[in-house]
């Protein structure tokens, strides 16, 4: 699908070596607008919103921050650990947002499953519905993410 010049510029900024070593698109050969559209449809099918997903992620990150690197439990369901790094990362969508360089690693205490995300991931999901391209190290599959965060019903209740 042909996309606007503005989205094309953003897609170029997402390529490896521009803002990060590996970029945000992984091995995905779809256009950015196709990536956004597909993930939007996936989220809609689950009956949730990008903002509800981001809010749940942010809640876990804020909890993790209190541990200063030490794991912190939340709701008896998750253990979240925060790892901060030097500097800030500008959002490739050129909205002037600058994310702190932080990775939040979350473990589901019941299943042992682990997921990790950056502050920039949360912002890009919330503001742009962007979960990164297939094959990207930080790609978060919407369905897997919603399931990890407790399912659609829980997200709708929390938001």
């Amino acid at each position: 699908m042909k996309q606007s010049p503005n989205l094309q510029d953003i897609q170029d900024a997402m390529k490896p070596g521009s803002l990060s070593a590996e970029g945000f698109l992984g091995t995905d050969d779809r256009s950015l607008s196709d990536i956004l559209q597909a993930d939007q449809q996936a989220v809609r099918r689950m009956g949730v919103t990008h903002q509800a997903i981001a809010a749940a992620m942010r809640r876990l990150t804020e909890t993790a921050k209190t541990g200063l690197g030490k794991p912190v439990e939340l709701d008896g369901l998750y253990e979240a650990t925060d790892d901060e790094f030097m500097g800030r990362m500008p959002c490739p969508f050129r909205d002037n947002f600058k994310a702190e360089k932080r990775t939040t690693t979350v473990r589901n205490l019941a299943t042992g499953q682990t997921m990790a995300w950056s502050d920039l991931n949360i912002h890009m999901i919330e503001a742009h519905g962007f979960y990164e391209g297939f094959g990207s190290h930080y790609r978060l599959e919407p369905a897997a993410l919603v399931d990890f965060l407790g399912g659609s019903e829980r997200l709708r209740t929390q938001s």
Binding site: P16, L19, G23, L68, G69, M86, N96
Partner: protein, 366 residues
């Protein structure tokens, strides 16, 4: 025949349009030679227009402080632009308060040189130099932290205050096609002036730190510029509390070594925090300094030691450990280097215990 005429017509129109675009780009984006007048004629530079003020000045060996490689995320590259900059950009706004805007401050990494400019910079910036160093040694301190020793060319020396930083320039590698630069604190003593040491942690997907951790070898050449920064001893002769985590050790180590060498009459307590033992490093040197210098006290602390760490030192969040040891904050000043979260939490503990905010100095990583 009609089809052929149509094809030829469309091709001709396309060609004319392409030529118009090429000519427009050539004339509209070609700013030609521009003059940058610094400090009312103290220096006058002739530069080719089109680049940012930051990079144009750097090309002329005038280095404006920047920690983020010109990405408008650090806010350090403020200069007064008296004329020629154009309107304030949205990317500059978060970093300039009303007073700074009135004074004419702009972000050098965002201002594009499109014509003649008049600017003001502090005189001390003319002391900042570029050095072509050689990697003398690389030390793998932890799983994600490396120490580098960079040797200056024969006959050259660097003058800096303990606590300051340099800009480190990576080279193109793998999928990264351009050089980038990042700020790293100097971890060696100022007296060791024919080389500098750095402590660099790998940032996930980091453009510069990935270069350091995956490409750099002993013997490689590296360009640095500096020194920069306002994080240094403020000479108020109070007793010192120093707190760091991870690569935040760098400026603190430089301060400690400098103070001990100069035999300044200061009592130092350094709190070095990590989660588990694998993230602590350089313990031998720090313990040795403590053994040899009665005025240096070293307090390593782990927030969640593993059984195999066999840890017998302090346990708890660094803020808790500091709180247990600090006593009265009167007549003390604090030097902190680490993540924003750690800094913010430590400031709360310090002020709660009587260290006033004007006596707390920090290098916040951001």
């Amino acid at each position: 025949m009609a089809i052929l005429t149509t094809i030829l017509s469309v091709s001709a129109i396309s060609g004319v349009l392409a030529l118009v675009i090429i000519l427009a780009e050539h004339f509209l984006n070609n700013y030609g030679e521009c003059e940058i007048n610094i400090n009312n004629g103290q220096k006058i530079l002739k530069v080719e227009g089109g680049s940012t003020l930051l990079s144009s000045l750097a090309a002329q060996k005038i280095f404006i402080p920047s920690a983020c490689g010109g990405k408008a995320t650090c806010g350090l590259c403020k200069v007064i632009v008296k004329s020629g900059a154009g309107p304030l950009l949205p990317t500059e706004e978060p970093y300039l308060n009303a007073q700074q805007r009135q004074q004419g401050y702009r972000m050098a990494c965002q201002v594009k040189v499109k014509g003649n400019l008049e600017i003001e910079v502090p005189d001390e910036l003319f002391n900042i130099r570029e050095f072509n160093t050689t990697i003398e040694s690389i030390t793998q301190w932890t799983h994600d932290i490396k120490g580098l020793r960079l040797k200056l060319p024969p006959g050259e020396t660097i003058t800096f205050k303990a606590g300051q930083y340099v800009n480190f320039y990576s080279k193109p590698y793998a999928k990264v096609k351009e050089s980038v630069f990042r700020a790293y604190s100097i971890s060696s003593a100022p007296s060791d002036n024919q080389a500098i040491e750095l402590i660099i942690r790998q940032v996930p997907e980091g453009l510069c730190s990935t270069y350091v951790h995956t490409m750099l070898k002993e013997g490689d050449s590296v360009t640095i510029s500096g020194p920069y920064g306002e994080f240094h001893l403020h000479g108020e002769n109070r007793n010192l509390i120093m707190i760091a985590g991870g690569s935040g050790l760098a400026p603190i180590r430089s301060l400690v070594l400098d103070i001990l060498e100069k035999e300044l009459d200061l009592d130092m307590t350094f709190f070095f925090g990590a989660v588990t033992k694998r993230d602590l490093f350089n313990l031998d040197e720090l313990n040795d300094l403590q053994a040899r210098h009665p005025n240096f006290h070293f307090v390593p602390a782990l927030s969640k030691p593993l059984p195999e760490d066999n840890w017998e030192g302090e346990v708890g969040l660094i803020t808790d450990v500091v709180g247990r040891h600090i006593g009265s904050g009167e007549n003390k000043e604090a030097y902190l280097c680490g993540s924003p979260g750690m800094i913010n939490a430590c400031i709360q503990v310090l002020t709660k215990n009587g260290v006033t905010e004007d006596r707390i100095y920090y290098d916040k990583f951001a």
